[in-house]
Every structure is written in structure tokens, then in C-alpha cells.
């Protein structure tokens, strides 16, 4: 009988329709799940942007000679960078140099934290790495950019007020961290900026 079979068929059809809808919604949701490009602090876009900014900061500072100035901003008597506490690196404010000002303008106003390290060859063999600005352990989505600066034997150290110290050059400094590893080239120092969003 036609009328008696109807109810069963309708139930079956409704169940099939429900399954169909449910599976298509699950499929659609799976496709639009969180990707590396979804808006968040770890977005790939933001990482690319931060890496470009870090590279730009280093390139600008290098072309103005500010990178070298900052690397040589050293207090030879105290054996540390000018204006750092006993720990030997900057934690809150960047150094009072042009490079420090560029870093502050580029990152501080945008809630981006950063560390700056210098890496140089040690006498004998091996490399040493020293923090210049350290603001804590970078997050998992930190980015880094680096640039090398060549120090020559007769490059003078920089005084606390940013002027050239005519009496002490880098090869005569007694406490400068990088050592003399060449005849006329003093050392090649790699300046690395690690930046992350907070």
C-alpha cells in the first residue's frame, strides 16, 4: 500500500538529508580552519612584515654608518656598553645612538619587542655571541635579520655623548669584547636583530 510506506520513506529521506547537510558543513568548516595566514599574532603576513622592517632598519643604519657607531659605543674603562647596568646589556631603552633611535622609531611604537646580538670570531677558533639589547626570550614566531660590520684597527671607540673618542681606537681598547683577528681588519661583527610581537 502506497500510503502506509510513506512515513518510513519520509523518515529515511530526512535522515539522509540531515547527514548530507551535516557532512557538507563539516567539510566546509575543515577547509576554512586556522591557517598560517589567519589573523593572529603569529600570522605569516606579520612575520614577513617584521622581517622586512628589521632588514630595513639594519640597511638604513648601515648606510648612515650608525651600525658601526653603535657597535663601537663602548665604555672601555667600565668594560661594557655606555649606560648599561652591571649585566652588560640594555634591557629597557636602546642605546643613545642613531641605531638606537632607529630601532625605537621602528619597533617600540608598534608593540614589537626586540633583542640585538653581536656575533664575532674569537681568537683561535669559534664564534662568540653577546647580547647588546636583551628584552627576554623571543616567542616562537620571532623573526631575525642580520648584517655584518667590518671593524678596522684604527676605528675609534665612541664616547657616551656620541662623539668620536680620539684617544682610544678599537685595537688599543683593553676590554672590547671582539678580539683582533686580522692584520688591518680588526674583526667582522655580525649584528642580529630578533623581533617579535607582544
Amino acid at each position: 500500500m502506497v500510503t502506509r510506506e510513506r512515513a518510513q520513506a519520509h523518515t529515511l529521506e530526512a535522515v539522509v538529508a540531515g547527514l548530507l547537510l551535516l557532512s557538507s558543513i563539516i567539510f566546509a568548516l575543515q577547509m576554512t580552519a586556522v591557517t598560517p595566514l589567519s589573523a593572529s599574532t603569529s600570522s605569516q603576513h606579520i612575520e614577513n612584515q617584521q622581517r622586512s622592517v628589521a632588514q630595513g632598519v639594519l640597511a638604513t643604519a648601515d648606510s648612515q654608518g650608525a651600525l658601526k657607531e653603535s657597535v663601537l659605543y663602548w665604555n672601555d674603562t667600565g668594560g661594557q656598553f655606555h649606560g648599561t647596568s652591571d649585566i652588560g646589556y640594555y634591557t629597557n631603552d636602546p642605546p643613545k645612538t642613531t641605531f638606537g633611535a632607529i630601532l625605537r622609531d621602528a619597533f617600540d611604537d608598534r608593540s614589537i619587542s626586540y633583542n640585538v646580538y653581536i656575533t664575532y670570531r674569537k681568537q683561535g677558533s669559534g664564534q662568540a655571541r653577546k647580547p647588546v639589547i636583551y628584552r627576554g626570550r623571543p616567542s616562537d614566531n620571532a623573526v631575525s635579520a642580520a648584517r655584518s660590520v667590518t671593524l678596522m684597527d684604527d676605528d675609534p671607540l665612541i664616547d657616551a655623548d656620541g662623539s668620536v673618542n680620539h684617544s682610544v681606537n678599537v685595537s688599543a681598547a683593553s676590554t672590547y669584547p671582539a678580539q683582533n683577528v686580522g692584520a688591518s681588519v680588526y674583526n667582522v661583527v655580525r649584528v642580529e636583530v630578533v623581533a617579535w610581537r607582544i
Binding site: T32, P36, L37
Partner: protein
């Protein structure tokens, strides 16, 4: 199975055929969801591709190249300052600097999975003229108007003077008439024809004014710029070839707002790579006290006219430029090129 709706049959109050409509509607909605998901996904994929940039790493190769150029430039400048007793000593010192630099840059690059190598290829000779005793820019005998150097050629595709910097502790001239003047003129030209002149004077305690005059054979172009130095500085650092005063750009020494080329030596019509030459002269040199330094190109088998140069300012053998072979290797990229390094060289 429910029957299909018969044509012309009226619907009963129970809605006999509704089950099929639900099924068809669900099917249509499912297809819509899947299609939308595909569209959204392809948009995400497009965005992903767009944000990747180039993947081979040529960006890295080029930024390392710029870095190597700066660093080799430092080596040349140091050799010109300290190892200038003979051309062979200069070359030996530069080779040693480049070797050292290559080794250290190479080690640093190796830590990030790249191979970077820099090797010395060749150099072109020059002469460095400099004053370092901080006196007036006159000759040792006190002559205020004199020829600093004569017979400077231009290298192929570039200028013949580089890294011309004045560190002035004092500038006494306060108007155009008495200003210290640096003049670059084609050898043998008369009057002001084929010349480029820069006049330097002060318009305030901390403000320096630079006026450049570019004379082609027919017309004269005048450009001005003024830069106020940061307070607390004791010198004016005027980079005539780089076009900056205390690190700030000065239009009158580079490209003027009108787009005219007023770089060092513009308007002299000395062809790069040719045998034409120009002379560099100072006038009113007693108006500026301080130091200066420049490197000029000496075409092989010619001599420069340095007859006015004695002990202060003085001249020494120097390297005008150095060509190095730069190699950058990664798993995806091999980049090898010859790099001419002439730090502080302006455009032609």
C-alpha cells in the same frame, strides 16, 4: 519508496511528497556549502602565494652583496690611510683585508646555510689628497686660491673623484662673495665654461649654506641648500661627493628639486672612460679651517698635476677602486658576479 507526485493530483493535508523536497533542498545546500568552501580555500591559497615573496633567496644574495660592498670599501679606505707608501704595499694590504673579510663573512654565512666568498680581482690607481692637521685649507705657504689637482680622468661609467669630505671646525665666510669655493673645470676651458662650482658659507652660527653653479657651455644653473647641524657638534661634516651635510641630504650636491643633475663635477662634459680630464681648484681657502680628504682617479701612464700640494694638504698613492669576485651559493641559487667597489663615488 514514495511515489513521485502525479501530474494534476491535489496535495493532501498531510503533504505526501515533502520528503523528496527536503532531500533535494539538502542536496542543493550541500553543493552550495562545498562550492563556497572551495572558493574560500582558493582565496586563502592565493593569499598564501602572494605573501611568500620570491622563494629562491635572491633577496638574500643581493643584500649580502650590498654588505660586502660596504665592508670591502672599509678595507680600501683603511689601506689608503695606512698602507700607502707604494702601490704594491697598497695592493698587498687590500688583498689581506679582503681575504680576512671573506673568511669571516663566509663563516657567518655558513651558519645560516649559505656559502659566501669574496676574492680580489683587480684595482685602478688613484691619489689621495688629504689634510689632517686642522689648519686653514690653504696650501702650506698660505696661498688661498690654488689648484688642488689637475688632469683627473673619469673611469668608465662613473666619476673620477670619490669620498671628498670636508670636516670644517670653522667657516668664517658669511656671504656668497667671500665664500670658500670648490671648482671643478674641464682642463683647458676658459672663463666659467664647463665648470661645476660649490660655494660654502655660513648663514647662522649652526647653519651652513651651499650654493652650486653648473655651467655648461651655454647656460648656468644655480642651486642652493641650507643645513642646520645638530646642536653640540663642533664640526660641519660636508660630504661633497655624497651630497650630505652632517648626514642630512643637500639637494644642491645631488639631484636638485627640479630634477637637474648637480652631482660633483656635473656640467664639465668630461666623458667617462675617455681621455678628457678636469681640474679641481680651491678659492678663498682661508675661510674654512679643518680637514679634508678626497681620492681621485689617475689614468694609467698619465700623471696628475699636484704642483701646489706639499705637506698640508698632502698627497699619497691610493687605490681608486677595487674589483672583487662575489660568490653566493645556496641549495637553490648560485650567484656570482664581479663587483666594483669605490666607496663614496657620486653619479656622473
Amino acid at each position: 519508496m514514495a511515489d513521485l507526485r502525479a501530474v494534476g493530483r491535489r496535495l493532501g493535508p498531510t503533504g505526501d511528497e515533502r520528503g523528496q523536497i527536503i532531500l533535494i533542498a539538502a542536496f542543493a545546500m550541500a553543493v552550495t556549502f562545498v562550492t563556497l568552501a572551495l572558493v574560500v580555500n582558493s582565496a586563502i591559497f592565493t593569499e598564501n602565494l602572494a605573501s611568500r615573496g620570491e622563494t629562491a633567496g635572491s633577496n638574500d644574495a643581493l643584500s649580502t652583496r650590498a654588505m660586502v660592498e660596504t665592508n670591502v670599501g672599509e678595507g680600501i679606505a683603511a689601506a689608503n690611510r695606512n698602507n700607502n707608501s707604494s702601490p704594491s704595499e697598497l695592493e698587498t694590504a687590500t688583498r689581506a683585508d679582503i681575504r680576512n673579510l671573506s673568511r669571516q663573512t663566509g663563516r657567518q654565512a655558513a651558519r645560516s646555510g649559505r656559502v659566501v666568498d669574496v676574492t680580489y680581482q683587480s684595482n685602478r690607481p688613484g691619489v689621495r689628497i688629504a689634510q689632517t692637521d686642522g689648519s686653514a685649507l690653504t696650501t702650506g705657504g698660505g696661498v688661498t686660491d690654488y689648484r688642488v689637482v689637475g688632469g683627473v680622468s673619469r673611469v668608465d661609467g662613473a666619476n673620477g673623484t670619490r669620498a671628498f669630505e670636508i670636516a670644517a671646525s670653522d667657516i668664517t665666510a658669511t656671504d656668497n662673495a667671500s665664500a670658500f669655493e670648490v671648482s671643478v673645470q674641464r682642463t683647458g676651458a676658459t672663463g666659467n665654461e664647463n665648470s661645476w662650482r660649490a660655494r660654502i658659507y655660513r648663514t647662522g652660527a649652526e647653519t651652513v649654506h651651499i650654493r652650486t653653479l653648473r655651467n655648461n657651455s651655454t647656460s648656468t644653473l644655480v642651486e642652493d641648500c641650507e643645513v642646520t647641524r645638530d646642536s653640540g657638534l663642533s664640526t660641519f661634516r660636508i660630504d661633497l661627493t655624497g651630497g650630505t651635510v652632517d648626514g642630512e641630504p643637500c639637494d644642491a650636491l645631488g639631484t636638485a628639486p627640479s630634477g637637474a643633475n648637480v652631482h660633483f663635477g656635473a656640467g664639465t662634459d668630461v666623458t667617462p672612460g675617455g681621455t678628457d680630464t678636469y681640474d679641481i681648484e680651491f678659492a678663498n681657502a682661508d675661510q674654512v679651517t679643518g680637514n679634508f680628504s678626497m681620492v681621485v682617479y689617475r689614468r694609467p701612464s698619465t700623471t696628475l698635476d699636484l704642483s701646489s700640494i706639499g705637506t698640508s694638504p698632502t698627497s699619497t698613492t691610493a687605490l681608486y677602486d677595487v674589483t672583487v669576485r662575489y660568490t653566493h651559493l645556496t641549495t637553490d641559487l648560485r650567484y656570482e658576479t664581479d663587483l666594483r667597489v669605490a666607496p663614496g663615488e657620486p653619479d656622473v
